[in-house]
């Protein structure tokens, strides 16, 4: 019996999606085999990690990650520049948290101004995220798309309950779009179909099947992502070929493992390493399942995830 390399080749291919401008533009996706399996297909683009910032101070982030930004997080422009210039961020994800009705309920106009200011201060690609309030995002993200017109941003998240206005705005201002559904491959597929039926180019779509933190449903996200990849590659299902987003940081930096002091849980070891490891391992797992674009918070977690990518590509 002699060994033959067991290769599998697929008809399908993940769409390559670019965002940002000029020499700082980035491309994700484009692979024709399962994650990092270069021996049987192309893996042209490495996963991209964006630094998450927000339009108001991160009062609800735990200390381990809040303290890192304590001198810059009072102002989104300073914060964005810090990530780009000091931390060498390749991309920045601005979350418009303050627009949420339960937070400051700031207006779409104010959000537009923040976006313009941030865009004027940085040259790396910008991802613009709403506050995840279905109704509010429907207006805020429309204004955001206009404010960022011409910058080839990624805008999101369009969900079943609000996708129409957001899709129209992304289309009008030529942005890339994140379509988000909640941990169900059929819902993800259905939303992608609804969006492309509005005339939105499927090659400009990024799918977010919903992330979860290590220990808190990670296995569901992992398997939904693997199944999306298999459907896109092996079945050549065109609706399942957009690159995948993993919104890692916001799910990780609220679970007990990233918050509880060592004095409360002596068996769990030091809090800082625990938190950083939690975000790193969540990101690594997502990438193995097919994530092309990650949004993360802690610089050390990002550094370790980047080193992991260095080894994987």
């Amino acid at each position: 019996m002699s060994y033959v390399v067991p290769k599998e080749s697929f008809n399908g291919k993940v769409a390559a999606v670019d965002f940002g401008k000029d020499d700082k533009a980035l491309t994700i996706g484009g692979e024709s085999s399962l994650p990092f399996l270069s021996f049987e297909g192309e893996q042209p683009n490495r996963p991209v990690i964006a630094y998450e910032i927000q339009d108001c101070p991160p009062d609800d982030w735990p200390d381990t990650v809040k303290d890192v930004y304590k001198d810059v997080s009072g102002d989104p422009v300073t914060w964005a520049k810090y990530c780009q210039d000091e931390l060498n961020a390749k991309a920045i994800a601005l979350r418009l948290v303050s627009t949420h009705p339960d937070r400051n309920d700031t207006s779409a106009e104010e959000a537009s101004k923040t976006i313009k200011d941030v865009l004027a201060a940085i040259n790396v690609p910008l991802i613009i995220l709403g506050s995840n309030n279905i109704e509010k995002d429907a207006t805020v993200l429309v204004a955001a798309a206009e404010a960022a017109s011409g910058n080839n941003c990624v805008i999101g998240k369009a969900q079943e309950g609000n996708y129409k206005t957001i899709v129209a705005a992304a289309l009008a201002h030529n942005h890339k779009l994140i379509a988000m559904s909640e941990l169900d491959i059929n819902l993800a597929k259905q939303l992608n179909i609804l969006i492309t039926q509005m005339g939105f180019d499927k090659a400009k779509l990024i799918t977010d099947p919903m992330c979860s933190a290590l220990g808190y449903g990670l296995e569901y996200t992992y398997s939904v992502m693997e199944r999306i990849r298999l459907a896109g590659l092996a079945q050549n299902d065109q609706t399942m070929q957009p690159p995948i987003l993993g919104d890692v940081g916001m799910y990780v930096w609220k679970v007990k493992e990233t918050v509880a002091a060592e004095t409360d849980v002596p068996d769990w070891g030091t809090l800082e390493e625990r938190g950083i490891a939690w975000e790193t391992l969540t990101a690594t797992s997502m990438m193995l399942a097919g994530t092309n674009l990650l949004i993360m918070r802690h610089p050390k977690a990002i550094e370790n995830a980047e080193k992991t990518i260095d080894e994987l590509v």
Binding site: V5, K256, D264, A277, A305, T308
Partner: protein
């Protein structure tokens, strides 16, 4: 090569006597081809058929234990490439490597860290299963002493003898033979000598070669020397090599029934930076390793790796569940508050943890909702007012407490009216939406 159901059928008695528990020989043959039953279930099968089916009906990935006793870690026996197809079977063992040239105190500290690594998470006891002793000194007496010391200080851990020198291995194996150490290992040059030691002591052996092809030749050779329990090390160190070679190995075994690679895999992920090491360990755990070798066992790192492994190895069809009953937390009295939740392990684990944190004596009624979270169970119709009312009445908790008040999870506040109608004489209170607000909430009531 694996036989098809029809090929197996031809070798069976074809009497359809049903003694195997199947209606026909053909049905039995089909199940056998899928690996769902053992050939021995048919009492009338001929010796000749057993001989020709034996090889083919063996599981595609050989299964055996790392270590001995009830803490031994089973390995192998995997049946799928992706966890959504079917549950991954035997969770990857975590092994920490120590060098024999450390001081006795350092060796003791590491062994004790392994011995005390057990953590309970979502109702499972998780631990670092193995300790690998590396012969860095090259000195036989020193190596043997280190192995002995570590074995003593970590009495339940599986042992890995990380040594390439036959002479040094032989001495060390003898001192711990009863613990069935895994010898790590044999390469093409020394395969014969080391396989002889493994065979004489009935212990498993790691085959070390450069890539799957060379490895498959080596395992055949080792098998020829009479050793069957083999672990594979394809030399992959970089994350990419780990994921690619482990994929090739598992695919060869499962899809091509290629026996020379039908064994559990060991990956060495040792890095200078401990967080990066944990990240690469996560690559190995997710992608098919049966043993992952690390260089340190900090508590935060153990917790992260245990959790990652637990997530990957849960059953994709059946969520982890806890028993339906009234859990007493912090020694409640008849006046203590009563809360209700579902029996999804994760939900129970989070909520009971927070109730414990509050130090407020309480009762937590856990209702069988087929292992679904609160909102999922509610959406699926398993956590409805009628079902909750029936559970509370049947369990008789109302007779044991003075105040008939039931606290609901905030996320299902919507149930409170209907529940009050159905549970006569009970007061229904809506608790906080998130479990982390429970301590403040309970203390505020007390």
């Amino acid at each position: 090569m694996a036989l098809t159901g029809i090929q197996i059928f031809k070798l069976l008695p074809k009497t359809n006597c049903k003694k195997c528990g199947f209606p026909t020989c053909l049905a039995f043959a089909m199940k056998l081809a899928q690996g769902g039953v053992e050939l021995s279930a048919c009492p009338d099968v001929s010796d000749e058929a057993t001989a020709s089916l034996g090889e083919a009906s063996a599981p595609p990935i050989r299964s055996f234990a790392l270590g001995t006793g009830d803490k031994a870690a089973k390995m192998g026996a995997e049946t799928v490439m992706f966890r959504h197809e079917k549950k991954f079977v035997n969770p990857c063992a975590i092994a920490v490597n120590v060098k024999d040239d450390l001081s006795n105190d350092e060796l003791t500290a590491m062994a004790e860290a392994v011995a005390n690594s057990e953590i309970d998470r979502v109702g499972q006891n998780l631990r670092v299963e193995a300790i690998s002793i590396e012969c860095a000194s090259g000195d036989s007496a020193k190596y043997e002493a280190a192995v002995k010391l570590v074995a003593e200080k970590a009495p339940d851990a599986a042992l890995i003898l990380n040594c390439k020198d036959a002479g040094n291995i032989e001495a060390a194996v003898k001192t711990v033979a009863a613990r069935k150490p895994l010898i790590y290992g044999a390469s093409d040059e020394n395969a014969e000598a080391i396989a002889a030691i493994a065979k004489a002591n009935s212990v498993p052996l790691v085959a070390i070669a450069d890539g799957p092809e060379a490895l498959s030749a080596l395992t055949e050779k080792i098998k020829g020397f009479g050793v069957e329990d083999i672990v594979l090390d394809s030399g992959a160190k970089k994350a990419k090599d780990i994921i690619e070679q482990n994929t090739q190995i598992r695919r060869s075994a499962l899809k091509k029934s290629f026996k020379p690679l039908g064994y559990p895999v060991l990956n060495n992920v040792i890095r200078d930076d401990s967080i990066l090491e944990a990240s690469i360990a996560a690559v190995a755990i997710s992608k098919y390793a049966s043993i992952v070798m690390v260089s340190s066992v900090e508590k935060w790192k153990n917790l992260a790796l245990f959790t990652q492994r637990q997530n990957l190895y849960t059953d994709p069809q059946v969520p982890m569940q806890v028993e339906q009953k009234i859990y007493e937390i912090n020694e409640p009295t008849a006046d203590s508050p009563l809360m209700i939740t579902t029996n999804f392990s994760l939900t129970y684990f989070i909520v009971s943890g927070e109730v414990e944190n509050s130090k407020v004596p309480s009762r937590l009624a856990v209702m069988d909702s087929e292992g679904l979270s609160v909102l999922t169970a509610w959406a699926a119709g398993k956590f409805t007012a009628a079902k909750i009312a029936a559970f509370i009445q049947e369990c008789g908790i109302g007779d044991k407490i003075n105040n008939k008040e039931l606290i609901l999870p905030g996320q299902v506040a919507i149930l409170s009216g209907a529940l009050e109608d159905k549970l006569d004489g009970w007061k229904i209170t809506v608790g906080p939406r998130e479990a982390n607000a429970i301590p403040t909430y309970l203390k505020g009531r007390a």
